[in-house]
């Protein structure tokens, strides 16, 4: 490809008094994008294959991880954020402490931005062999003591903590983690902060516990919302443009979501509810990108009735390239800021958008446009073009302001 950056010192038409500088990128590019469609599509297929191999391979391998590193939002479980006062125990120490209370499968993760905090993730305890008895014990103890609610903070023993476990898994996770952490010293009680309680060694500052039912519910809701969102987009684009464009845009969106998921599977980044929000964001972003180019194709079709769709698509992509690069670049940099400064809670979101912004821009050129063209060719280019022109004329006249149809001199 030819050089992309034209930083032209553009003196405007009337070069009168002070010739002003005008920064412009990508003004006069003439790239045959559609000619590159095969290698581009091949690249996409390659990435998707990598994702597929990762997803299937991980599940197939004995003792391997799952296809996705699902967060507690979707598979249930408990995440505890604990803040330590003096010496933060090492990950191995915490893991060992958890094993003594029967939690063998745990993920201990040091917070990336705060050195005194640690995230402890334990799965749904019913699924872990060996902890069942402990939960039963906890439940039994809870039953035996019926209304034992310790309001007295001075004599809380691990045994009492165990007893505070209600008869279900949501509570068992927190109770067990607390019990294991109590081996490092006691927790700051009640509303006291870590600094206010001189005897405390740590404090649980955050809990996310999701039971199996709620997890399945959130997962189903997420999938349904995403699919319905895509159907909505499909219908809207079909209404505003044409089914061929709608198909192109939606396949491109699917592609983006899948590519992002492929990254999440390959690198085992955690998929949580915020990642879902990010996926939906990138759906919006990707469709936006497609629409900007489709809009230009539609406009160019009315201006140059006798040129081929192939050429017009290339030209439309080239004409909007400056917008694509600037918007894409700015969004990309804002997302970069999120990745760098957004903290632990936003990490999944930021990473998903980071990948998504790139693929969203790329897929418009590599996926959405070629599909739209290909399909229209299949349908018989001439006939479709005619229909398209009529349709766009109707649309243009329907739009609130009249639009000049004079060809733009290039």
């Amino acid at each position: 490809m030819e050089s992309f950056l034209y930083l032209t010192l553009h003196s405007p038409l009337s070069t009168l008094h002070s010739p002003k500088l005008m920064f412009e990128f990508f003004t006069n590019i003439k790239v045959d994008w559609m000619g590159y469609r095969k290698p581009l599509i091949a690249l996409s297929v390659l990435i998707l294959l990598a994702g597929l191999i990762s997803a299937i391979g991980r599940q197939a391998v004995e003792g391997g991880t799952d296809a996705f590193n699902l967060g507690v939002d979707f598979q249930g479980g408990t995440v505890i954020t604990a803040k330590f006062k003096n010496q933060k125990p090492s990950e191995d120490e915490i893991r060992a402490a958890l094993q003594t209370v029967g939690v063998n499968e745990s993920v201990i993760q040091a917070s990336t931005d705060k050195t005194d905090e640690v995230l402890i993730k334990v799965p749904l305890l019913g699924n872990v062999e060996g902890t069942q008895t402990i939960i039963n014990d906890a439940n039994q103890a809870a039953d035996n003591t019926n209304s034992q609610i310790s309001g007295n903070s001075n004599n809380q023993t691990p045994a009492e903590t165990q007893a505070t476990g209600q008869n279900n898994q949501v509570d068992a996770g927190r109770a067990l983690v607390k019990r294991s952490l109590d081996t490092f010293g006691k927790e700051a009680e009640g509303t006291l902060s870590l600094g206010d309680d001189p005897n405390a060694a740590y404090k649980i500052v955050g809990t996310d516990a999701v039971g199996p039912v709620a997890g399945a519910q959130l997962r189903n809701q997420a999938v349904i919302a995403t699919l319905l969102g895509m159907i909505g987009i499909l219908l809207f684009i079909a209404f505003r443009y044409d089914w061929t464009y709608a198909a192109g845009a939606v396949i491109a969106v699917f592609h983006d979501v899948l590519v992002t998921l492929a990254f999440f599977s390959v690198f085992q980044w955690e998929v949580s509810l915020t990642v879902l929000a990010a996926l939906l964001t990138l759906v919006g972003f990707s469709v936006n990108d497609s629409i900007v180019i489709f809009d230009r194709i539609r406009e160019n079709l009315t201006l140059h009735r006798n040129r081929s769709l192939y050429d017009l698509t290339n030209e439309s992509i080239n004409q909007t390239m400056s917008r694509t690069i600037i918007t894409g670049g700015l969004v990309f940099l804002s997302v970069l800021a999120l990745v760098l400064f957004g903290g632990e809670v936003l990490r999944g979101f930021s990473l998903a958008l980071f990948v998504g912004v790139i693929t969203g821009t790329y897929s418009t050129i590599a996926i959405a446009s070629p599909i739209a063209i290909w399909w229209q060719d299949k349908l018989g280019a001439a006939k479709v073009k005619q229909a398209e022109v009529q349709r766009t004329e109707k649309l243009a006249s329907a739009s609130r302001r009249s639009v000049s149809r004079r060809p733009i001199a290039r």
Partner: protein, 555 residues
């Protein structure tokens, strides 16, 4: 003409901006001088914006009322009551059976004399409300089954009742500004409880879930006390008859003792007469106090509602000298012999600790839950973690924003100012919109805000790039501005509608955090049509008005 339209546009913009500034930074209530100081503004800002629990800290609990259990209990109670009613009327009935499975709840009463079927039905219906059940009278049996639609109604009532009871419990506990509402699908039986500022919800959870079934029962004095459950059962030949209950005695509420050995069995078992004389539903008031002042020496006094008091008074009058047991959650807390007629008050001695006694009194007062509840989801964010999230989110947003501002100024120069005004206005009005809708700003909401800003930038870029194209094509500045906006507007509308559409679907089908994201994004996009298109265009119009023959545009 053009002048007046410009004036109107300017007035609209100024008015909207002022309203936005007032909503976001203005005081609620009377205006004071301090409201114009830096601290006053910051204070107003934090009061006006409703932060979500993930940002300000607090506890978010999703619980489910086990409505199936509730239906099961109702079915079984009805079975017993129907049998008793028919027997009391001395009608020819055999035994009764019931089915209580998901979606299938039936009570069957076997009739030994088919000619009396109608009489039995009448006798039963006098005592039991079977109005929502379908009746099916055969020759040998009468079956009442609860239709699925009626099941839903009953379940719904159970959840409503649970909601009310939970509300009174958390209010009595002193949780500040709790939100309690139904959650999930209509028949999911789920209740969402949000408690701002609560970072250790264990006690509240325990309190909400505790059952506190209080029963006052007569001790069966024809048999003695047993040391094990098995020996008590043996005295009945293995099975306890329906009119008797065997409960352990556990006077001392000493949890540590029990916990050290969860398998330890109580050593005293009593046989009590069932049904209870009165139960917790007759309770009017209950309070905890200590006679000695010792911390582990609390007891609970209670008083009864008039109907219960009447019943209790009658019964105690007839049974002076007999023994009565106070049974709490199937454990005998105390046994007392009745010295005289008691009407409306009594006490439960059990050597409770202060906290236990207070919570117990509270649950007794609020009534018992219709069915057990289970927790399905808990999210608790400590205030410090929430504050860190805000800081991280705001830092990231600001970093992104500053970069965008600098870039737009360098790349689009004069027009970049338009873009920045549009961005700031977008941010201001979106937050104002959240305040108007009384919506909370959550972490995903901040993400939505950032995406909204991204879309605002995109709109500006689309417009400016288009104007540059028109300028390059040799059009006059006025024409280029007009056509730049007109052409870009079509694209902007299309992109915005698509995103709004998918956000609306997200809002409709998503759950809490996703909704927060959708709301801010929808607001941001709607406002963007105003700030990026209307406001920005007005600024260009204003420039052209001052210099109609402008030869070049700073863009």
């Amino acid at each position: 003409m053009k002048n007046s339209s410009l004036l109107i546009r300017t007035l609209i913009i100024v008015a909207v901006t002022l309203i936005g500034v007032y909503l976001v930074f203005g005081p609620r209530g009377s205006v004071e001088a301090s409201d114009f100081s830096w601290d006053g503004i910051k204070n107003n800002l934090s009061e006006n914006i409703n932060l979500g629990l993930d940002l300000k800290g607090g506890s978010h609990l999703v619980m489910r009322v086990k409505t199936d259990d509730y239906l099961k209990t109702i079915t079984e109670n009805n079975r017993e009551a129907a049998l008793t009613a028919a027997k009391e009327a001395q009608l020819p009935v055999g035994d009764a059976s019931s089915v209580a499975e998901i979606n299938d709840y039936q009570v069957t009463l076997n009739v030994t004399d088919a000619s009396k079927t109608q009489e039995i039905i009448e006798a039963v219906k006098k005592k039991i409300d079977f109005s929502s059940w379908t009746e099916n009278a055969g020759d040998n049996a009468i079956t009442w089954s609860l239709p699925v639609a009626a099941q839903k109604v009953v379940k719904d009532q159970a959840v409503t009742q649970a909601e009310r009871i939970i509300e009174s419990r958390i209010n009595a506990f002193g949780v500040k500004e709790p939100t309690l509402q139904r959650h999930g699908a209509t028949d999911s039986g789920q209740i969402l409880l949000q408690m701002p500022g609560v970072d250790d919800p264990e006690r509240v959870k325990k309190l909400i879930g505790s059952e506190s079934r209080l029963e006052l029962m007569k001790v069966d004095e024809s048999v003695q006390e047993f040391t094990t459950k098995e020996s008590a059962l043996q005295s009945f030949g293995g099975t306890v008859p329906p009119n008797r209950k065997v409960f352990p005695v556990n006077e001392r509420d000493d949890s540590a003792e029990n916990n050290n050995d969860p398998n330890k069995q109580p050593s005293r078992w009593l046989v009590l007469e069932s049904p209870a004389i009165i139960d917790g539903s007759e309770m009017r008031d209950a309070s905890a106090f200590s006679e000695t002042g010792g911390d582990s020496d609390y007891k609970i006094t209670f008083s009864l509602k008039p109907a219960g008091a009447q019943k209790f008074g009658e019964w105690t009058g007839k049974n002076i000298g007999k023994s009565m047991a106070v049974v709490l959650n199937d454990e005998v807390k105390s046994v007392a012999s009745i010295r005289g007629q008691i009407f409306d008050s009594g006490e439960i001695t059990g050597r409770f600790s202060k906290g236990t006694a207070e919570d117990l009194a509270l649950t007794l007062k609020s009534g018992s839950l219709p069915a057990k509840i289970e927790y399905q989801e808990e999210r608790t964010v400590g205030p410090s973690l929430g504050a860190d999230s805000i800081r991280a989110g705001v830092t990231a947003s600001l970093a992104g924003l500053i970069f965008i501002v600098v870039f737009m100024l360098i790349y689009y120069r004069g027009a970049g100012v338009n873009a920045i005004i549009a961005l700031v206005l977008n941010l201001l009005l979106t937050v104002a919109g959240l305040i108007v809708l009384d919506s909370t700003l959550t972490l995903p909401g901040i993400a939505g805000l950032i995406l909204g800003i991204g879309m605002a930038v995109d709109s500006n870029v689309l417009i400016f790039e288009r104007m540059r194209e028109e300028l390059r094509a040799g059009k006059s500045v006025a024409k280029a501005v007009e056509q730049g906006f007109d052409r870009a507007f079509i694209t902007i509308i299309d992109t915005h509608i698509t995103t709004i559409l998918s956000s609306v679907i997200l809002y409709m089908y998503g759950s809490g955090p996703i909704r927060g994201f959708a709301v801010t994004l929808i607001l941001g996009l709607l406002i963007n049509l105003f700030s990026a298109v209307f406001v920005s265009r007005t600024i260009f119009m204003w420039l052209l008005e001052r210099n109609p023959n402008m030869k070049k545009l700073s863009i």
